[in-house]
Symmetry: C2
Amino acid sequence: MKLSTKGRYGMKAMFDLALHGGKSPLPLKTIAERQEISEAYLEQLISSLRKAGLVNSVRGSQGGYKLAYPPEEITVGSVIRTLEGSMAPSACVTEEKPLDCKKADSCVIRPIWEKMRESVDNVIDSITLQDMLEDYNNQSQ
Amino acid sequence: MKLSTKGRYGMKAMFDLALHGGKSPLPLKTIAERQEISEAYLEQLISSLRKAGLVNSVRGSQGGYKLAYPPEEITVGSVIRTLEGSMAPSACVTEEKPLDCKKADSCVIRPIWEKMRESVDNVIDSITLQDMLEDYNNQSQ
DNA sequence: TTATACCCGAGTAATTCACCAGGCTTTACT
DNA sequence: AGTAAAGCCTGGTGAATTACTCGGGTATAA
């Protein structure tokens, strides 16, 4: 049940944006170097995040990326789900279009997959980038 | 974050053993047919379950498999973890030997992976095959 | 002794992962 | 106006993983 690098790198990049991002956009290269991620690969990931509306881009020289919302409005869940899809352990319990299975009604395993998904969703939807920033600041004391 | 077929098929097989297993062992073929799983593939999975001590095997004619413990003593977690490994979303937060990362101390993402793992573990460790049997029996009313 | 069933290792097609390459477009700065 | 810095986009690719299959063992009830 590991996440792929998409979710992990994506979280690093988003936190980097929250921590180092200001008024002017952060170029991808800076983020990639600081987080030690392949730039070309991170470009793909941040492209998904942009299409999902989580970051904004500024093209051209001096361009880069910025969070589309203040850190307290961006949850870990929205980032991870954008890059990894549903947290459902089985296709029959995704939020959006659960794969329908004839035996869904009588299946005793399905409710277990559902609980797993819900419990993961609860965790990741309850943490925002702002929470992470605060943890980071408290740490350095 | 999907489980592979190992975990999913393995759960089906274990529940089948709990539901249909009696004093005499259930042959793999029967389980595979009833659960619509490739017999040769399921053999590999149940072999892991046997090595983990969750099922016992009886060789030879009239042989098959039985649960090694009563259903109330077998958790979903023990089955899934046997077949899938740790539920950690990142290698740095596995129960047994977390991959050590120099930045582990200062990492603000790590605690999130930890919470995810814990919450999944809580769900799957709190459900036994017996619970599933009861759900199944209540359903048919 | 024979049919049934578990045991085991190797092989394999298909898919996914984690990138890389290269060209195009946009824009600030000089 | 020219140039360099940046994002945008498509396609390719080697390595790993997944989900099996195959073929031969070995044990044992009948």
